[in-house]
Structures are given as structure tokens and as C-alpha cells.
């Protein structure tokens, strides 16, 4: 009896420890980033980081505004390209295509998710950058180029999770709606999409997370200029690129400023996630 109880307790504690270790790593990362990045932000003032567009880290100017704007614009561009394509694909593959087509197309699109981001970047540099430069103007390294590549990169995430959530709906929804005389498109738009909403929003949040956090491909194709962009053909630098580009050489305050970049990225991702969660809650209530 006692032994069994002890064993129960042991297993409970073991599972607790495993669960805690995952949280601990998150806690460690946050503590590390904030302890390295916050002191310089407090010392220099948050204004100097958030509202200045002068990034001369070796001269003591740490304005991150161009990178914040860059990250948001590139992410927004990726969403504009990725969401319609992903949703349209998911609707077609679940509602209008034959099962055979879906069995072939879905795994192929999921393969896209397995392509390393450096390969996307390379394709971007070799094909898309000259294409944009020759047809739209500007240097080719631009918000537009980065958005196009990122939009394709988040496509498999949005598509495959949306497909899963549409397929998980009870067949009665569709059958009932059709039986009442609705067309297939009406059924999809008015019955199935609202019912699968939470899964679709989850897919969009995951896609957005990938777009904000993508680094390698963006460094290769966005041009990394530190000025505020005037048009979508201007080069930009994102927050993640800023860290990755300069980390190798940074020391002293420059290094701390890169951690401060991480702090801001952390906060932006939290804000975006909260907004997404709130809207999904409001829509479902």
C-alpha cells in the first residue's frame, strides 16, 4: 500500500518536473533577454529606442523604429499573400475537389514546410530579386520581395491546419445546409467557415508567428537598409535580421542594444498573439 502510494507520488513529481522544465526554459530565455536588454533601454530611455530612426550602434544611436516598421510591414505583406491563397486552397481541397486530388495536393503543399528557409532565400535572391528589379524598379531587395517569399513560406501552415479544421466538422453541417437548398458556395461561406473559425484563426496565428520570426530568408532578400521605407520597393530591415546580422561583431553597448531588439521583438509577438486570441474569442462569443 505504502509502496504503491510512494510510487504514485514519485510519478506525479516526475511528470511535474518534466512539465516544469519546459516552462523553465521559457522563463530562462525571457529572464536572459530582459536582463541583457532592459538595462540599456532604461539607461537610454525607451523613446530613443522606439521613436528614433537613427541606428548607428557604434556611435551610440539605437533607434529601432525602421526595424519595427520593417517587421510589421513584411509580416503584413506576407499575411496579405498567404491568407487568401491558403484559405482558398483549403476551401477548394475540402469542398470542391475530389478526395484523390486532395490526397496528392495536400502532402505536396506540406512538403513546402520542410524546405529550409535558406533555400527560399536563395531562390528569392536568384529569381525574385532580379524579377522585381527589372519589372517594378528599385534595387529588387524590397518589402515586396520579402513579403512574396514569406507569403509562400507560411502557406503550408495556413493551408494544412485550415484543411484539418474544415475536415473535422461533422458531415451533418454540410448535408443539412445542402438539404435546405443552399448552394455549395453558400454552405461553405455561411456554415462551414464560421464553424471552423477557431482552427482557421489558429492557422493564421501560427503563420504570422513564422513570418515575424523568419530570419535567414529575410536577411537574404529584404536588403536590410536601416532607413524608414517610403514604398514597398524600398529595402527594409526586420528586427530578427538586425539581431542576426550584427550579432557576430557586436560588443559592449552594441551587443546590449541587440538584446534590446530581442526585448522589443518579444513584446511585439506577445501583442500580436494577444490581439489574435482576443479577436478569435470575440468572434466566437
Amino acid at each position: 500500500m505504502r509502496i504503491r502510494k510512494d510510487r504514485e507520488k514519485f510519478i506525479r513529481l516526475l511528470l511535474l518536473a518534466i512539465a516544469l522544465s519546459a516552462i523553465s526554459i521559457l522563463a530562462l530565455i525571457s529572464i536572459f533577454i530582459f536582463s541583457e536588454g532592459l538595462p540599456i533601454m532604461i539607461r537610454r530611455g525607451f523613446k530613443a529606442f522606439l521613436l528614433s530612426s537613427d541606428w548607428y550602434p557604434t556611435e551610440g544611436h539605437f533607434g529601432l523604429l525602421p526595424m519595427i516598421v520593417g517587421s510589421l510591414l513584411v509580416t503584413a505583406g506576407a499575411m496579405i499573400i498567404g491568407i487568401p491563397l491558403g484559405l482558398a486552397g483549403a476551401i477548394y481541397l475540402t469542398q470542391f475537389s475530389s478526395k484523390k486530388v486532395r490526397m496528392v495536393v495536400k502532402p505536396m503543399i506540406e512538403l513546402l514546410a520542410g524546405i529550409p528557409s535558406v533555400v527560399y532565400g536563395f531562390i528569392g535572391v536568384v529569381i525574385l530579386v532580379p524579377f522585381v528589379r527589372d519589372n517594378f524598379g528599385g534595387p529588387g531587395f524590397s518589402i515586396l520581395t520579402a513579403s512574396l517569399i514569406l507569403g509562400i513560406m507560411i502557406l503550408p501552415t495556413i493551408l494544412s491546419i485550415s484543411i484539418d479544421s474544415l475536415l473535422a466538422l461533422p458531415p451533418a453541417y454540410r448535408e443539412g445546409s445542402i438539404a435546405l437548398g443552399a448552394t455549395e458556395w453558400q454552405t461553405t461561406r455561411l456554415v462551414l467557415l464560421p464553424a471552423a473559425r477557431s482552427g482557421i484563426i489558429a492557422s493564421i496565428i501560427l503563420g504570422m508567428g513564422r513570418a515575424v520570426g523568419e530570419t535567414m530568408a529575410v536577411i537574404m532578400i529584404a536588403g536590410n537598409a536601416t532607413s524608414l521605407p517610403r514604398s514597398i520597393l524600398d529595402p527594409v530591415r526586420t528586427l530578427t535580421s538586425n539581431i542576426a546580422l550584427e550579432m557576430g561583431y557586436a560588443s559592449g553597448e552594441h551587443r546590449q542594444a541587440l538584446f534590446a531588439t530581442g526585448v522589443i521583438l518579444f513584446i511585439i509577438i506577445m501583442i500580436l498573439n494577444t490581439i489574435a486570441n482576443l479577436t478569435s474569442k470575440r468572434m466566437s462569443s
Binding site: A17, L20, Y56, T58, G223, Y249, A250
Partner: protein
């Protein structure tokens, strides 16, 4: 009787449930203690693992990523000559290399930029020279610029190729990232304290700068002289072609030293390595790669040039 038994049972049942409650309570305080203990263990574990250093063998050479590939070659040949010696070459950038030499984390630091005044406590050994070539697309009609014009282009004051005798197209300036030794050297020799325009495209290696310029007919950038390829065109500077001969003669102005630094006199092992690098064999190794051997550039001739 029955009543009594019931009461007893009731009491024991109550006792039982009380005991269970207590047990559960103890269990929960136990697990919250455990939580705290776990976090403590976890964090101290990381704390200590951070402060531990792996046992070091041989010597460590760290710093500039421009010098790193050459240092790798030197180390390889050196270790083949003298079995048992271990040279550990790491990157990290010029600033990191200098810091590592100052702190003792590396016996030798590598820097591809001049030392700042506060870093001058280190002992310097110039092991090679590297030219900086200003490059454009081969189809660009512009092939000669003055240093002044290059500065104005990179500062963003000249924005069209037309202003320097080329096509009526916007100039796409390509530069290296902040903190890079190549950018530091360029800034010192060409920009003279002026800032490179914020609109410049930033790439993080010599190779990618060359790649961008090779693909864009209206781009301008700067790379190591040794990395020139026919896919890009090096422009003449004030009429002087960017070539090793011109560097050796002292005509071409944009050159930077590759420096090894040690904290105080180098120890025996580090000195052997530096002596090997400066030997004929070590210098021949890098000459094949497009670098300029340390002895070929006469410091006297550099007087009056940008590099002091």
C-alpha cells in the same frame, strides 16, 4: 450497540477523511516546495554550466572573419609540421578577437581593422595586407572615380549614375553590416568620419556583396581585393587600377592591414605560430590567395596615404 458502532465508524470515517485531507495538503505543499526546489536546481545548474570552461589545449586564435580562412590554412600547415601542437581558430569578428586577446580568452586575436587607442595596449603583428576594391557591374560604363566621388556616393549625396558620367539610373549602394572589419576599414579610409547612407543595402559578407553587385547593373559595393572575380568590375580610384602590383608600389590607397594581437609578449607557443606565419612558407600560402605579404608593403611608402 449499533449506535455506538456507527459512531465509531463515523469517527473513524471522519478521521480517515481528515487524514486524507491532511495528506493531500501535505502533498500540495510538498509539490510547491518541489517546484521551488526544482527551479532553484535548474537555474543553479545553468549558472554553473555557464561559468565552467572546457579544458583548453594548445592555443586559441580568434577574431576577424576576413582573416579566419587564412588562419585556418596557416594552422593546418603548422600543425602538420609540428605534430602535437594544437591551434584552435575561431571567428567572431575583429572586435570580439581584440576583446578575447585582452581578456585572455584567446592567446592571439585577429583584427582586420586598425586598433583603437584604448586597444593599443596589445602587441601588434602585421601579418598581411589586403586591398579594398570598389566594385560595380561589368556593364557599368563608369570605370574611374575619385575618392571624393566614392565618398559622396556612399554618403548618399550623389544618387544617380548620371552625376559621375554613367546612365541616368539611381545608384544602389551596397555596404557591410555595422561592426564588420571591412566596413570599419572602408569607413576609415574612404568616409573619413562621414556616415554611410541609411538607404544602403546591407549584406553580411564579402561574398554576398559581390553576389548582389554581380546581379545588379546599378549597384556599387566594396570587397576584399583578393575576392575579385570577372563577374564584377573593380573601378579605378583616381586613375589607379585596383591590383596587387599597385598596392605593392604604394599607388593604390585603399589597403588595410591584417593584424594579429597578443596581450603582452606572446608565449612560446603563440610566438612559434606567428613566426611561422611571417616565414616565407607562411607568406607564400596567402599570396596564392590574393593577399599581399606583410613585407612587400613598405610602411614608408604609405606615408600620406589614408592609412597611418
Amino acid at each position: 450497540m449499533i449506535e455506538k458502532r456507527d459512531r465509531i465508524r463515523g469517527i473513524s470515517a471522519a478521521g480517515n477523511s481528515k487524514m486524507k485531507e491532511k495528506d493531500r495538503e501535505r502533498g500540495s505543499t510538498g509539490s510547491s516546495f518541489f517546484c521551488l526546489f526544482f527551479f532553484w536546481l535548474f537555474f543553479t545548474f545553468f549558472y554553473f554550466s555557464c561559468s565552467l570552461r572546457p579544458g583548453q589545449k594548445g592555443i586559441t586564435v580568434a577574431g576577424s572573419t576576413s582573416i579566419q580562412p587564412f588562419a585556418d590554412q596557416w594552422a593546418e600547415v603548422f600543425m602538420a609540421r609540428l605534430p602535437g601542437r594544437v591551434i584552435n581558430v575561431q571567428g567572431g569578428g575583429s572586435s570580439a578577437g581584440i576583446q578575447a586577446a585582452l581578456s585572455g580568452a584567446a592567446q592571439i586575436g585577429m583584427s582586420s581593422r586598425e586598433l583603437k587607442p584604448e586597444e593599443k595596449v596589445l602587441k601588434e603583428f602585421i601579418v598581411a595586407w589586403d586591398g579594398l576594391a570598389i566594385i560595380v557591374h561589368p556593364s557599368n560604363p563608369v570605370d574611374d572615380l575619385s575618392l571624393e566621388k566614392v565618398r559622396e556616393i556612399f554618403a548618399g549625396r550623389i544618387i544617380s549614375w548620371k552625376e559621375v558620367g554613367g546612365l541616368d539610373r539611381k545608384i544602389h549602394v551596397v555596404t557591410r553590416e555595422e561592426g564588420s572589419g571591412t566596413r570599419g576599414a572602408f569607413q576609415e579610409m574612404v568616409m573619413h568620419g562621414e556616415r554611410i547612407t541609411k538607404k544602403a543595402i546591407v549584406q553580411d559578407s564579402n561574398g554576398t556583396v559581390r553576389e548582389v553587385v554581380a546581379g545588379d547593373p546599378y549597384a556599387i559595393g566594396y570587397i576584399s581585393l583578393g575576392l575579385l572575380e570577372p563577374r564584377v568590375k573593380a573601378i579605378k580610384l583616381d586613375g589607379v587600377e585596383a591590383s596587387i602590383e599597385n598596392v605593392v608600389r604604394g599607388n593604390y590607397k585603399l589597403i588595410r592591414p591584417f593584424i594579429l594581437v597578443t596581450h603582452g609578449e606572446p608565449a612560446q607557443e603563440a610566438r612559434d605560430f606567428i613566426q611561422f606565419i611571417l616565414s616565407e612558407e607562411g607568406q607564400n600560402l596567402i599570396q596564392k590567395q590574393g593577399l599581399i605579404p606583410a613585407k612587400l608593403v613598405c610602411l614608408e611608402k604609405l606615408k600620406g596615404n589614408s592609412f597611418k
